[in-house]
């Protein structure tokens, strides 16, 4: 019985794996941002019960929620080339699948997936916004867009933040499926390393440590963000404590004060 587990390797290969961290983070961030933007649009379509569009959205959300993400990744990976061929045939264009980086397929699949899930969260959050505040904003003479930008989105964001945070963490781990579209992320690199050294268990343990660490960091950032955003709720407690502590984290929590 010797060397069943190479403990040292678990930690020494982490730096090599981390070279692919930017890929993982990039897929996560961009998918989340696109997913939030599209999700907001889908939520607004549903809330305003726009005919035809809202039915299309309902079917889309149902489809995304009803199919595994890995199947959706395969569908985009194999579907887009076929779509392009059709387009080229009927429109006489000459788009080449090879010109599209594999990352684009992954981003598309994850963005649409996030959009569908987020749209439901965002819809619920928007419904929770105080109608009185919306009326006040309208009565000031704001346009629909200004009301959305200045009142609805900031208010709804605070409500939705915990669920959106969970979605973000879920997405970060789901990006480990990117390898099916031949994108090398953390997990794909782990598999490559394991394939070379035959140390599969160690490789997956390294990955587990990295993902776990990422999740803990994300949770902390989300916690700080939530504290920052709910400063209006905790204002009375903060006022006394922060009055003469203008350094470090405290400065992060205090908004600019106006003195006259």
């Amino acid at each position: 019985m010797q060397h069943l587990i190479d403990f040292k390797l678990i930690f020494t290969q982490i730096p090599t794996l981390l070279q692919y961290l930017p890929n993982t983070l990039m897929i996560t961030f961009f998918s989340m941002i696109i997913g939030l933007a599209v999700g907001l649009v889908l939520a607004i379509v549903k809330l305003n019960r726009i005919p035809v569009l809202s039915q299309v959205v309902a079917v889309f959300v149902s489809f995304i929620r009803g199919t595994p993400i890995i199947v959706q990744l395969y569908l985009t990976y194999y579907g887009i080339p076929i779509f392009l061929k059709y387009l080229n045939y009927y429109q006489g264009t000459t788009y080449s699948v090879n010109a599209i980086p594999a990352l684009a397929f992954v981003l598309l699949a994850f963005s649409l997936n996030e959009a569908a899930y987020n749209s439901e969260n965002i819809r619920a959050a928007i419904l929770a916004v105080d109608k009185g505040e919306l009326e006040a904003a309208q009565s000031l003479g704001m346009t629909r867009w200004e009301v959305l930008r200045r009142v609805t989105i900031p208010e709804a964001f605070v409500v939705a933040l915990p669920t959106l945070g969970n979605a973000f963490i879920g997405l970060m781990k789901n990006t480990s499926l990117a390898f099916v579209a031949s994108v090398v992320d953390l997990t794909a690199e782990g598999q490559i390393l394991a394939g070379n050294s035959y140390r599969y268990f160690e490789s997956y343990l390294s990955l587990a440590i990295i993902y776990w660490g990422l999740t803990i960091i994300t949770e902390q950032i989300l916690r700080l963000l939530e504290r920052r955003l709910t400063v209006f709720e905790r204002a009375s407690e903060l006022r006394v404590a922060n009055h003469d502590q203008q350094s470090g984290l405290n400065r992060f929590f205090i908004r600019k004060r106006v003195t006259q």
Binding site: A136, S139, F232
Partner: protein
């Protein structure tokens, strides 16, 4: 000048008022009184287009709107002629007092942040809340909240100020504070047209230049405070005032 011609409004086939005609001159302080559910609030909200009338026409200072069709742009243009104070304050809870009052100035009027803050601070001083400028609505009492609501409405500098039961959501103790603020505001700017819905009849009697008694979608009495309160012609109005006087003691 505000003019209503044949204004009609109903909710789900329930008629609120029909064929309403009214003319209000600039600088008048109108006290709108009457029993609950008479449609006073709906009328006020129609002036700000928070409710869309079914038919008739509305004119504020030369801008006329023929109900019910209106484009979003026209609606906003019309709405910018009046500002509103709400029964439930409706402050932006995520913004501090300064943010609440300067919001419209920045977003709607396009002032720079520093200019907006200057105007906002003036208005906040007008409602005597200068000490609370950095507080959030959650830290204020009901009366203070409503004074912020008034400052926010004033900051827009409109010719028409609409107050929808500004003291109805307040503890009795805090009512006087808000009424004093409104009194000051009326005294400070005699050109501003004010329409105020209130059940504080003695206050209305004191500040209003003209009182309208509104019930069942109709203006039953229209005249100076002494006409309406001391010599009402309509039986319904007499009944209402008697009940009020009985309760006031």
């Amino acid at each position: 000048m505000i003019e209503l011609k044949g204004l009609t409004k109903s909710f789900n086939r329930q008629l609120i008022f029909k064929d309403l005609n009214l003319r209000i001159e600039s600088g008048e302080v109108i006290g709108l009184i009457g029993p609950s559910g008479a449609g006073k609030s709906t009328l006020l909200r129609c002036l700000n287009l928070l409710e869309t009338p079914d038919s008739g026409s509305l004119t504020i200072d030369g801008l006329t709107y023929h109900a019910p069709k209106i484009s979003n742009r026209q609606k906003i243009q019309f709405r910018r002629q009046s500002s509103m104070v709400f029964q439930q304050f409706n402050l932006f809870r995520q913004k501090n007092i300064l943010g609440n009052v300067s919001e419209g100035l920045v977003t709607v009027k396009g002032l720079s942040r520093s200019e907006a803050q200057k105007v906002a601070v003036e208005q906040i001083q007008r409602v005597r809340l200068a000490d609370h400028i950095n507080k959030y609505p959650g830290q204020l009492s009901g009366g203070q909240k409503q004074r912020v609501g008034i400052a926010r409405a004033l900051s827009m500098g409109t010719n028409v100020l609409l107050l929808d039961e500004p003291t109805s959501a307040l503890d009795t103790e805090l009512v006087g504070d808000v009424l004093d603020t409104i009194k000051d505001v009326i005294r400070q700017d005699t050109n501003q047209t004010v329409i105020i819905i209130s059940h504080e009849l003695s206050f209305i009697k004191e500040v209003a230049s003209r009182v309208l008694f509104f019930d069942q979608g109709q203006i039953l009495e229209d005249g100076s405070p002494s006409d309406v309160f001391d010599h009402p012609q309509n039986d319904r109005v007499k009944q209402f005032l008697q009940r009020y006087q009985a309760r006031a003691i």
